[in-house]
Symmetry: C2
Subunit: 629 residues, 2 copies
């Protein structure tokens, strides 16, 4: 058996080794305050002079001697001979000790009349009022904010000494092409080091990204040696598995020390840590989500440990809308989308495939499942670390149900209204369960026509237990998707891809087989379940199956042949109380909008005659309140 990793060490141990095996390089640089946003003060900053340095007028008005004003009243105004017109911020001439606001004066020729005595030092801004000479402005370790820069400028501090870390980033892999080059099949655009550079530069690191190094141990060693020479931290991307062209571990060992290779972290297992010329070398796994995890959970904490600005962590406690399994012994990091339903926050977990970058793109947070946890049940409360502005959550709508490409169009329209639709694929029963649990805003479901639905002995008992409304999105044909035409006599000789139990497509397939009097056990691939309707089409497109059941929309999206079997209603099912939520009212108004119908019509395979119709189960027609602003 070929050995894959030297050993797997735990997340905590890996982090400890990373932080403890190297000295803090402790470097600083002096930069103009105008470029210092987000940087960290390396040495306390003290005021060089008082601000203000002398007493100033704190109001527009006249500077006076307070004793000249004594006795002035409405009945007995005093006209002043000895005064100076001052504006806010002017030096208070030394002979005066008070300022009277211009609103409290009456012009009397060249002079001013007042009707109220001035207290000594009134409306005078004393020297040192903002800061006194030598006083601390910013302590060491302070992360500089925009308004701190205003204060520094006011105090005459034009440059600041801030913490500084140099990072050398090496992309490796003969299959890589640089961004801007169209990859050929089998080639990949080099993106992990771009991500590393953008992420670490946002913390204030100075990053140098080398050109792509091909899979050649000598070249990799040269690059490592040079990067370690010039930088405080080296990040080398890919070549970290145990393939025939994975030279990273060997290259580190050849010119330095390999501290570990393999961590019990998912995604991120092939991570490695080395030491070359006293500099740490972090080996990023090649899979993008694994690279992200290693960057965020290892590289970022190291730079924080060395004094760069902490990467902001905004946590929200959310309940899981669906169970979340995890490998015991592995610390797992899972993309999550969080939304609020009434007073509760709910999270839906996303694909953990280490290559599916879209699952990070489509989520607004992630959760960390510790190594000793085997997973969570639905409704478990956990911490979600946000990857977007927290206000984003308030604009997030969670959908759980059958995902059709039409939701993408709706999502675009919703986005224009500031709403983000996050979708989790679920069969009809789980979708209904989500509605019952109130863990989704709406469940998109592919349902038979309303008259048939009302007779469904499977769905109706569930549906009837809630006060639900059905917003019709479109009518669309469901049928067989294939590359070549499927003839009736080949049904049980070709290879099928099936859909998950409890999905509309699965029901349709069973009904279809029944109508052709074919036993499911005689169908090749009947047990081969694709995770989503989209995956059915993708499996057929990839040649993994000859045919499957999905919507006409998906078939067309994949450019596949489509043989219609039935028409179904694609409905957005939700609790009636959702109509009290202005976000839902906005959403429904989008479904009813001419723009959405036009989008559907343009696609050509949706029937929009019922689009926007809202009904309860008892066929009551429902009106929505006027759209909020």
């Amino acid at each position: 058996m070929v050995k894959r990793y030297l050993s797997l060490i735990s997340f905590d141990e890996a982090l400890h080794l990373l932080k403890s095996s190297f000295n803090n390089p402790g470097k600083t640089e002096t930069i103009p305050v105008t470029r210092a946003l987000g940087r960290v003060i390396a040495n306390p900053v003290y005021a060089r002079y008082a601000v203000p340095e002398v007493n100033l007028a704190a109001m527009d008005g006249i500077a006076v001697k307070s004793r000249d004003t004594f006795g002035a009243t409405d009945q007995c105004p005093v006209t002043l001979d000895n005064f100076a017109r001052v504006n806010t911020g002017n030096i208070l001439p030394p002979q005066f000790d008070a300022v009277i606001m211009i609103e409290d004066t009456w012009e009397a020729g060249d002079r001013f009349q007042i009707r109220k005595a001035a207290a000594q030092w009134q409306h005078v801004r004393p020297a040192g009022d903002d800061i006194r000479e030598g006083r601390l402005v910013l302590p060491k370790g302070h992360v500089i904010r925009a308004f701190d820069i205003g204060a520094l400028a006011t105090y005459g501090i034009a440059d600041v000494e801030v913490t500084s870390v140099r990072v050398g980033i090496i992309p490796t892999g003969s299959e890589l092409v640089p961004l801007g080059t169209r990859p050929q099949p089998g080639q990949v655009v080099e993106s992990n080091t771009i991500m590393a550079q953008v992420l670490l530069e946002s913390m204030g690191a100075v990053c140098e990204r080398l050109p792509i190094i091909r899979d050649d141990p000598a070249l990799i060693q040269d690059a490592l040696r040079e990067a370690a020479e010039n930088n405080d931290l080296v990040i080398i991307s890919a070549g970290s598995s145990a393939g025939t062209r994975d030279f990273t571990a060997g290259s580190i060992s050849a010119i330095g020390e390999l501290i570990f290779h393999g961590v019990a972290v998912k995604p991120g297992k092939p991570m490695m840590l080395g030491k070359i010329k006293d500099s740490p070398v972090i080996g990023l796994p090649g899979y993008p989500l694994a690279a992200q995890t290693v960057l965020r959970e290892f590289a970022v904490p190291l730079l924080e440990h060395w004094g760069l600005a902490p990467f902001p962590k905004y946590v929200v406690r959310a309940q899981l809308a669906t169970p979340l399994a995890s490998d015991l012994g592995f610390d797992e990091f899972v993309p999550v989308s969080v939304g609020r339903i009434k007073e509760k926050y709910w999270g839906i977990s996303r694909s953990r495939g280490a290559v599916v970058q879209m699952s990070t793109v489509r989520s607004n947070g992630y959760t960390h499942i510790p190594g000793l946890v085997e997973g969570y049940d639905a409704e478990q409360e956990l911490d979600v670390f946000l990857t977007t502005d927290p206000a984003n959550i308030e604009r997030t709508l969670l959908f759980s149900g059958a995902i059709d490409p039409v939701l993408e169009e709706l999502g675009n329209l919703a986005h224009n209204q500031g709403l983000f639709i996050h979708t989790a694929s679920a069969g009809n029963t789980s979708a209904i369960l989500s509605l019952k649990r109130n863990s989704c805003h709406a469940a998109p479901m592919s349902l038979p026509p309303f008259s048939t639905l009302q007779e469904s002995r499977i769905l109706m008992p569930y549906l009837k237990s809630m006060d639900l409304i059905f917003v019709n999105i479109a009518t669309q044909k469901q049928g067989i998707v294939s590359v070549k035409e499927i003839k009736t006599d080949t049904i049980n000789s070709i290879c099928w891809v099936n859909s998950r139990k409890d999905t509309p497509a699965r029901h349709l397939f069973d009904t279809f087989l029944l109508s052709h009097q074919i036993e499911p056990s005689r169908i090749r691939g009947y047990d081969n379940e694709a995770a989503t309707p989209g995956a059915v089409a993708a499996a057929v497109l990839a040649g993994q199956a000859d045919a499957g059941i999905c919507s006409q929309g998906l078939a067309e999206k994949h450019g596949l042949m489509f043989t219609p079997v039935t028409a179904e209603q694609y409905e957005l099912v939700m609790r009636r109380e959702m109509l009290d939520d202005p976000r839902i009212v906005t959403l429904i108004s989008l479904v009813k909008s001419p723009a959405f119908k036009m989008d559907l019509d343009r696609n050509g395979f949706y029937n929009t005659s019922l689009t926007g119709r809202i009904r309860s189960l008892s066929c009551e027609n429902i009106e929505i309140p006027p759209t909020p602003d």
Copy 2:
């Protein structure tokens, strides 16, 4: 009476006018993804090709025909002739339909032996697995994150079209000097437009900051005209009050329209809004905190409204540690420091002086008091908008009591340990009240020696009601601060500045007067109360009083003459249960550290013989647990 503002309009109305009086310029720019962090997608981004484009090996191993592997078991291994060695990410040769992991193979000469059959398509990454051609990557309005940039690069998207706003920023004021020039008395470093530029650029705006324009209507009009021509938004700083050299409003009116001048917002009242060549012109007040408020509450929302990334708002619900008054009819924005004590978040409000930039620098958040609220009582719960990383709150220690410069040294040491000390000045009674309410971590108090304290009929009844511990910081002399020597026979002829009721300095002054048999009513300035011990010294330094009572430390800091009257213990008083909080243990270990004693000794006016001693009221000596890591 000279009129100051045309009228004051409400915060909400001002914001509405700002957002509704101008068309969204709707501009976009196309930039490299590597510079797109935090920018906002202007048009939906779709994948130009599928990723991956063909089926790939998902593991390092061998590509096989699954049917060749059927029947392989431990007892009956199969040796394969027809295979290809593949690494993760390699193209799956079209003749194969499965990958066997290298760990599950045994080398057999040139061939491989397996002991388990391979399922069709196992360890194969199908084409389109991450994204399919033409699918949505990022919707319009999406704020680009570091990991989104990774995905964009992977999908071959090198440039993105993002929303774009140009802002022209004009500093005005003859008293201004540019950053880098040492201001003469009466001059001020121009900082508000630097702040504006840094803040708005951090949102992705393209800012052009003009050179300083002196107070000359013709020059100001030229600058306004040119800025409005070249930009979507013009910000003009200062000249917005009613002084003799405030030309901004007039200049806007002369070449455009003045929409309003004066808003019921504190700080920020003199704000104005104009329109020149269809571009909005925001007039910033000159006072820095007023300028900050107008930038944050008006300029930022306008740019968000126009499609730049929302400025993140992180809110924490905190209870007020002290009451907070507010002017009815004014929306007020008050700097606040928030810390956690046990499970509760507490906020202490800071100086609202519109010129005291240090109050923003020293706070970690701010609160918004709506116009119709007259203020809040202590313990009121309210929203605090954070200006730092939320994790910062966990590292914040709230002190309420007598503020001595020595806390600045302690603060620097604490900062090195990742702790932030936020202080609120309070007299002894309010400090004890804070301890009772548990709204501060510790109360620094200037107390008589322990033996005297135990006989104090004023403090002891309060102190005895809690289980308190006293951490000695230093022994220091209290006495008279003055510019010239104070002779006993001049005590009742000179002008004094007094301290607030219930402060140690006030008690000391009363005791001092009693010992000289002088009636307080005969003392000039007895009713003139400075807000803090530092303000006493500042008042003397500014010539506003001849003498006052404060510590030797403060007197020396201000370079003033000091006549000792007594020695007091400066103690950090806290609940005994605070010892369970590792932050407090760290803090105490700092007080006990040689570094801190050295700092005190270097100052020369602290006696450190008792520094670090911890006692309860019953004189029990207390040991602290070992310092946490």
